[in-house]
């Protein structure tokens, strides 16, 4: 009997080791493959990871801080150093940061804002003002469906250990999957790899009903682009390429640093980007990927947005919600979409107690201030919009300044 028991243990030790070691080696091969491909979760959200890397340093500063948080529309349309300069001229000393980032929907932004909150709270620092963008077309069902493949990978990157543990307790199947993705797969899920390799098999991006750009238009665009790149290298010889630049507070260059001539080339370049074909193509893509005209909202994303505001309230003296200007020449919402949008706005206002400042239809921003159907140009639209934010919030910041003076 003893020998049969010891024999049984021997056999099952072998089986057990083969199961565990086999899986360990297989997982190592997966890791090796993603490493060899240069694929890592950070590739997808480099700007987010970059901003979080600098946040401990930012929160150790003794200055008054303003953060503008949102999508790539914020990334393109808000200029922190422009904002600070304008505020300084009004006698207000603040440092602002651009925390706009493309490729995230409110579900992921919720986790991103939690990490920002954690770092501010860990360093006993509060934001003087948090300005959060509510982006309606980022909150739609289509936007959500488009991100389904990357949800678990993004959560692996953005959720804290406690949040992952909580998730695992609530839903062990999903928890085990995300732990696996986070700890063994460098935040690259199987779906993400499948999607990556299967891109060539996706249906071709639909083409708009417009004449494609002429060769002259393409050549001009290329020429202007090359010219601007050369000029940039001359103007900023020490520039370190980062997804999120600490020196530029998450924003980019500002007009005051560039020559008149360069700014003129930029205007020509922007114009070369706004060809009917490119604009129609961009619009069509926004329809397909984000339902930008009809705005059929995804409940879960609206809820996530409300959570974002609540997260910011925990470490900010003042929280405001804004909607960025809309390129009204290209984006014309149906009346049903506007009604849906209004209902969501009211819901957010009720849940957060904050009145949303809606710049969507401001007449100070014209279609010529956009680089495409949604993003403002850096040296024109972005500057005008940044100045609008200065005008909107200067009094608030001044008043709060006075309150803090002993």
């Amino acid at each position: 009997m003893t020998s049969s028991i010891s024999n049984s243990r021997k056999v099952y030790l072998k089986v057990w080791l083969l199961v565990v070691l086999g899986m360990a080696v297989a997982m190592s091969l997966v890791r090796l493959f993603t490493f060899a491909m240069g694929a890592s979760g950070e590739e997808f959200i480099g700007r987010v990871v970059g901003s979080l890397k600098y946040l401990p340093k930012i929160t150790q500063q003794q200055d008054d801080q303003v953060m503008v948080f949102g999508s790539s529309m914020v990334e393109a349309g808000f200029s922190p150093r422009q904002f600070d300069r304008e505020m300084k001229q009004r006698g207000i000393d603040v440092t602002s940061y651009n925390f706009g980032s493309g490729g995230l929907n409110p579900l992921f932004q919720d986790y991103y804002s939690r990490r920002i909150r954690d770092i501010y709270q860990a360093n006993n620092k509060r934001l003087k003002l948090a300005i959060i963008e509510f982006n309606p077309f980022q909150t739609t069902k289509r936007r959500y469906q488009g991100a389904v493949a990357s949800i678990d990978g993004y959560l692996g990157m953005l959720a804290s250990d406690e949040e992952l543990w909580q998730l695992a307790k609530e839903d062990p199947t999903r928890g085990a999957l995300i732990y696996n993705i986070h700890y063994f797969r460098d935040d690259i899920s199987a779906e993400m790899i499948t999607y990556f390799f299967g891109r060539g098999l996706q249906a071709e991006r639909p083409k708009p009903d417009a004449d494609p750009d002429t060769e002259e238009q393409v050549a001009l665009r290329r020429k202007l682009g090359d010219q601007l790149s050369e000029q940039f290298e001359k103007d900023y010889p020490d520039y370190v390429d980062e997804d999120w630049s600490y020196n530029w507070q998450g924003g980019g260059t500002i007009p005051a640093e560039r020559s008149e001539e360069t700014l003129k080339v930029f205007e020509q370049y922007y114009e070369s980007l706004r060809t009917p074909y490119r604009m129609a193509s961009d619009k069509l893509w926004r329809e397909i990927s984000a339902d930008i005209t009809e705005l059929r909202f995804q409940e879960e994303l609206v809820e996530s947005f409300i959570k974002i505001v609540k997260n910011f309230k925990q470490f900010s003296d003042q929280v405001e919600v804004i909607m960025l200007p809309k390129n009204s020449r290209w984006i014309k919402n149906s009346s049903e979409a506007l009604a849906r949008q209004q209902a969501v706005i009211e819901r957010i206002e009720k849940a957060t107690g904050i009145k949303i400042i809606d710049y969507q239809n401001t007449d100070r921003i014209t279609p010529e201030m956009f680089i495409d159907t949604t993003h403002l140009t850096r040296y024109h639209g972005g500057v005008v919009f940044t100045n609008m934010l200065v005008e909107e919030f200067a009094d608030d910041l001044k008043a709060s300044d006075k309150k803090t003076v002993p």
């Binding site: 243990r9 099952y12 072998k14 057990w16 086999g22 297989a26 779906e191 790899i193 499948t194």
Partner: protein, 482 residues
């Protein structure tokens, strides 16, 4: 679903990390702690119930109840003095098992069908529905349990002592939710005398798990093209429709046979031998041959317990018996007219095959081993099987008819195939062939590979790594719903 689970949120699917964790822990108990027979069987039963309850613990009593009822009925049949008494008892077992199945799986379908039927005659009948959740694997374990009482009734086996062993065998987690459908005479002796796995069994087990994983991963990748053809969201070319139908043929094969390969592989690691459930089915050269290769545990169950009970080939009633068997086989897969139509279609083509094979003009062709004839027979069979899959996958009979029309709309109004559509068609066909080559290899050459350890183990790990690297692990197994 979460609120009624033993482990809320857990769904034990073989290709998920949570099942891996479950199995690693289970192996520790099974191989190191519970070494004596009785504790091992107890432990296996408890683990199997945790596995089943992870989906929905409300249905554990149904599973255990089914086992207990059939165990005692079989004992009673064994002790019954008269044939009449035995008949009563086996009828009771049939009523219990088929009653459970009917209540959970077919009641709503029957009620809605009666309602629709009455509407046809102008009666506005709004019959109430039960809207009950269908217990996972119910079709598998009721058939398995039923085979025991029928075998005892027929005298093919003696009733066995040991309720614990019987329940553990019925609930044994590798086969619980999607088969293969085991016969009591096959699994009970193994549960009574649990053997240590030999190293050859362990190697075959790992090979089958890896091949199953590869087939399941391929099946998941085929789900997209299949959906394009059947969802009717967009107008697609004839080639894309064919790609979709082929993709579904690959998806259902990879999904189901992949699952059973993994089930057989896991059982081998635990010292159990399960029978083969698939034998390269799309290599079949006649509809009859297809059913000898596809879901063998179901087709043989239907043959042994239904077709033969109806009289089989005797009394010139073969056609009727085939039709009844195939109709019920279709219905076994689900409560929908599409499944019934699928069963009926297979009934018709099997009957037609029998009929034509007996005609003097076709007899030489049916019996011919000429390579050209074999290829022709294969092509006809595969085409018919594909038509069957259209009925099986379609959301309704109208949808099925539309897809069949689209498949044959050459020169019609459908758009021309793009180069992307041609690429997808080629990839889908390649995936289908690859899965069959894998199966063919396992059936015919695996021993050769297993004898070369230096090649066998690295290949296995590489295969597993490939499956972990790509895929969509969140997809459920299609056959869970049956």
């Amino acid at each position: 679903m979460c609120s009624v689970s033993v482990l809320p949120g857990v769904i034990m699917i073989f290709n998920t990390p949570i099942f891996f964790a479950f199995f690693v822990v289970f192996l520790l108990g099974y191989g190191f702690i519970f070494l004596k027979h009785k504790p091992k069987v107890y432990f296996t039963l408890v683990a199997s119930l945790v596995f089943y309850g992870s989906w929905n613990y409300h249905f554990i009593p149904l599973l255990v109840g089914s086992a207990v009822a059939d165990y005692f009925i079989a004992q009673a049949i064994g002790n019954a003095a008269s044939q009449r008494h035995k008949k009563w008892l086996v009828t009771l077992s049939l009523c219990i098992n088929l009653g459970i199945l009917g209540l959970f799986k077919y009641a709503d379908f029957a009620l809605s069908s009666v309602g629709s039927f009455l509407t046809l005659f102008g009666y506005e009948a709004s019959l109430p529905t039960l809207a009950w959740i269908l217990p996972v694997g119910i079709s598998f374990y009721t058939f398995q349990s039923l085979s025991y009482t029928i075998d005892v009734y027929r005298g093919d086996m003696q009733p066995r002592k040991g309720l614990l062993e019987f329940t553990a065998a019925l609930a044994f987690f590798p086969q619980l939710v999607a088969g293969p459908i085991l016969r009591a005479r096959h699994i009970l002796p193994q549960m009574h005398d649990i053997q240590l796995p030999s190293f050859a069994q362990v190697k075959t087990g790992f090979l089958l798990i890896t091949v199953g994983l590869m087939k399941k991963t391929t099946a998941d990748l085929l789900a997209g093209p299949a959906a394009t053809a059947f969802d009717g969201q967009q107008t697609i070319s004839v080639l894309e429709t064919w790609s979709g139908v082929l993709a579904f043929a690959g998806q259902i094969y990879g999904d189901f046979s992949g699952y059973t390969d993994m089930a057989i592989g896991i059982a081998l690691l635990l010292g159990f031998n399960f029978p083969l459930n698939f034998r390269v089915p799309y290599f079949a050269v006649s509809p009859v041959d297809f059913w000898r290769r596809w879901h063998i545990s179901l087709s043989t169950w239907l043959r042994d317990y239904l077709y033969i009970s109806l009289g089989g080939n005797r009394n010139n009633r073969r056609m009727r018996n085939v039709m009844i068997t195939m109709l019920l086989g279709g219905l076994w897969h689900g409560a929908a007219w599409t499944f019934i139509a699928w069963g009926a279609f297979h009934g018709v083509i099997i009957t037609a095959t029998h009929y034509l094979s007996n005609l003097a003009v076709f007899k030489p062709f049916a019996a011919s081993n000429n390579k050209f004839h074999i290829v022709l027979k294969w092509a006809i069979t595969f085409y018919l099987v594909l038509l069957g899959w259209v009925l099986f996958r379609a959301t309704s009979l109208e949808n099925a008819w539309q897809v069949i029309c689209d498949m044959h709309s050459f020169g019609g109004a459908l758009p021309a195939a793009s180069s992307l559509a041609i690429t997808i068609f080629a990839l889908v066909s390649a995936a289908l062939i690859l899965m069959h080559l894998l199966d063919y290899f396992v059936l015919n050459h695996s021993k050769k590979l297993e004898s070369k350890g230096w090649l066998f183990w690295p290949l296995l790990v590489l295969g597993q790594a490939l499956c972990l690297l790509i895929g969509e692990p969140s997809n459920d197994f299609i056959y869970f719903q049956f």
